[in-house]
């Protein structure tokens, strides 16, 4: 019985007006959640946590750099899952969602690279190094831009989305490379200090809370922005259809 409801609702999401309504309702909550978590996280990051013994205040960049990096990768994985669904079931709203994730993922990758440079300059003396993790993050940025460019280059939006979904799936190889790059190669970038499953993290407990809040905040924001952009794409593609016309007829 539950399985049947799940299936029915899954396919209902394929209906543009239903999806639009859902996104319209859900997005403000996600933005609100982001605002709360970010406020708490930023306050703790800037005022509560004491300066680091070795890096003094520049380590506070961690609270922007790390959540953005994690979200850049997590966002790509979300897009890859959506891409599989889009290619297998050919659901238009899922194609739109997969494409909507790319600009946001690119934005987070950019934040990660920029804040990384700003952290690296005072601490390690260089804005950039061609080591494994930095290079593979840069590669991720180019893959995101490639997905956006490929999607934009097609006149037929549905075909463009599906071709770009193939590209998303090809590029997924990069994600494990980024993640394990600090283990496989000796790099300038530091190794993994935060362990989710395998025991003690080497980051001090007093420094953890803002990181947790910012990570949650960034995930909520990704979801909110994804729904916003997907809604707009759907509106744009369906502008001549009945449901859009009647919806906009109400508001004018």
């Amino acid at each position: 019985m539950i399985w049947k409801t799940i299936k029915v609702n899954f396919h209902r999401l394929g209906s543009p007006p239903t999806f639009y309504r859902l996104a319209e309702v859900l997005a403000p909550w996600l933005w609100g959640g982001f605002a709360v978590c970010a406020a708490i996280g930023l306050y703790q990051a800037l005022y509560v946590v004491p300066p680091d013994y070795q890096q003094s205040d520049s380590f506070r960049i961690l609270y922007i750099h790390v959540p953005s990096a994690w979200q850049a990768m997590a966002g790509y994985v979300v897009m890859a899952i959506l891409a599989v669904i889009a290619l297998v079931w050919r659901i238009r709203t899922v194609e739109i969602m997969a494409m909507a994730g790319a600009p946001i993922g690119a934005a987070f990758t950019f934040i990660c690279l920029a804040t990384g440079s700003l952290w690296g300059r005072p601490m390690w003396g260089t804005w950039w190094a061609w080591d494994a993790r930095l290079t593979s993050m840069l590669v991720l940025l180019f893959i995101y831009l490639g997905i956006m460019g490929l999607y934009a280059a097609f006149e037929d939006r549905r075909k463009g989305a599906r071709v770009a979904c193939i590209l998303i799936l090809v590029g997924i190889v990069n994600i494990p490379i980024i993640h394990f790059s600090v283990e496989w190669w000796t790099t300038l970038h530091q190794g993994a200090t935060i362990r989710l499953f395998s025991g003690e993290s080497t980051l001090h407990a007093s420094m953890m809370p803002p990181l947790v809040w910012m990570t949650i905040a960034v995930k909520l924001m990704f979801g909110a922005a994804l729904l916003d952009r997907a809604r707009n794409d759907l509106l744009d593609q369906d502008r001549r259809k009945g449901w859009v016309q009647s919806r906009l007829g109400e508001t004018t």
């Binding site: 003094s56 205040d57 960049i61 804040t115 952290w119 809604r231 508001t251």
Partner: protein
Amino acid sequence: MIPDFEYAFYVWTSYGIFAVVIAWQFIQPRLRKRRIEAEVREERALQTGSYE
């Protein structure tokens, strides 16, 4: 109010980049929605011949 950090430039620039990018991700869809709605209204006005 604003704490005095060592490496203040780098820290604040990082947080600033974060704020600007997130703000853009919030604003851009709203701007685009407004533009799409205006275009749809324009097209409908062209068809019905009624401009207000």
